[in-house]
Assembly symmetry: C2
Homo-oligomer: 210 residues x 2
Amino acid sequence: MARILITSGPTRQYLDPVRYLTNASSGQMGVALTQSAIQAGHEVIVVSGPVHVQYPAAARRIDVETTQQMLAACLNEFSKCDGAIAAAAPCDFQPTQVASDKIKKTGEPLRLELTETPDVVGTMGQQKKSHQWIVGFALETSNEVARARQKLQRKRCDLIVLNSPTAINSDRIAAQVIGREGRVLLTAEGPKPEIATRLLQLIQTELIAS
Amino acid sequence: MARILITSGPTRQYLDPVRYLTNASSGQMGVALTQSAIQAGHEVIVVSGPVHVQYPAAARRIDVETTQQMLAACLNEFSKCDGAIAAAAPCDFQPTQVASDKIKKTGEPLRLELTETPDVVGTMGQQKKSHQWIVGFALETSNEVARARQKLQRKRCDLIVLNSPTAINSDRIAAQVIGREGRVLLTAEGPKPEIATRLLQLIQTELIAS
């Protein structure tokens, strides 16, 4: 039995009190992973952005809104966990300045400078102890496998799940799971609960039992 | 009995295949208004952005994602309606350029130019015939009443419902309803279904019966 941190859902980065940047991540993959992990006898802590899905009651749920909040919650929990599955899609750009009043329309273009948010998985990767493992997710739209391999290396992940925008807010996912040596260990397409179960089996053999 | 177009929920404006600008509008006020209007014997067409709420089955629902889609659906329906209640919060800025690939992180700031989206209520206001009416919503964070009055004039609304960001994604709303002469006709705070019913009563006396 392992203690597993699962991140799930999107985050939001506000421009002003009303408008924000985000993505359509629904949390469905986070739910499926949580269910599979609990069924396999693991203890689960879910750090989730704003979603409308329900996580299994057996998991401890920590709600966050921004990427900074997700990072803070993850760093706080990860040191007490055996591993992490980072299924969340944190918003990775934030407006450099956040307006305290709602930005008014003037008829002119609005120039916005965005800076990168802190890298949640990359920061966990830096703090990872030798007994710990991290499964990252990569959502790519071009040069997919090469980019996923780079991400795995850069973020010090142990496995990375490559998927595409078609998985966002869908009940299905097409995924390739890549290992530390860059080898594709699993290629699968199907309902998220089914793919989650297969991923948990792979985590068991590759990361927990080894 | 009137035929009423109700707009509801947020819209999304994409930067790239994954990231978009939006707001936390939940569609709850749209649901409450639809229920109240149907209970009052009206026919309702709902044009809704992406939400997780359910509209009454007696209403006809048209789903849209972007502000341009919301505008197109509204213009198509409004000419066949007696009036419109514009409770949606359409995203009013869009990236001037939409990237076909997911924008990569480079470590450098990302400069984004946003342009205004078409004004859904303002465009309906321009096309409004003398027998038709429009109830707009104004969400303001400063100089609220003055701005709401300007909005009512500029968009050729017949009533405007002034509310604040605290109403977004909440089951309550604090609202002031302002009439064509700029007078505050109703000040109310409470659960959205209750305020929706009072607003429909006001629409009946001020716009339908008159």
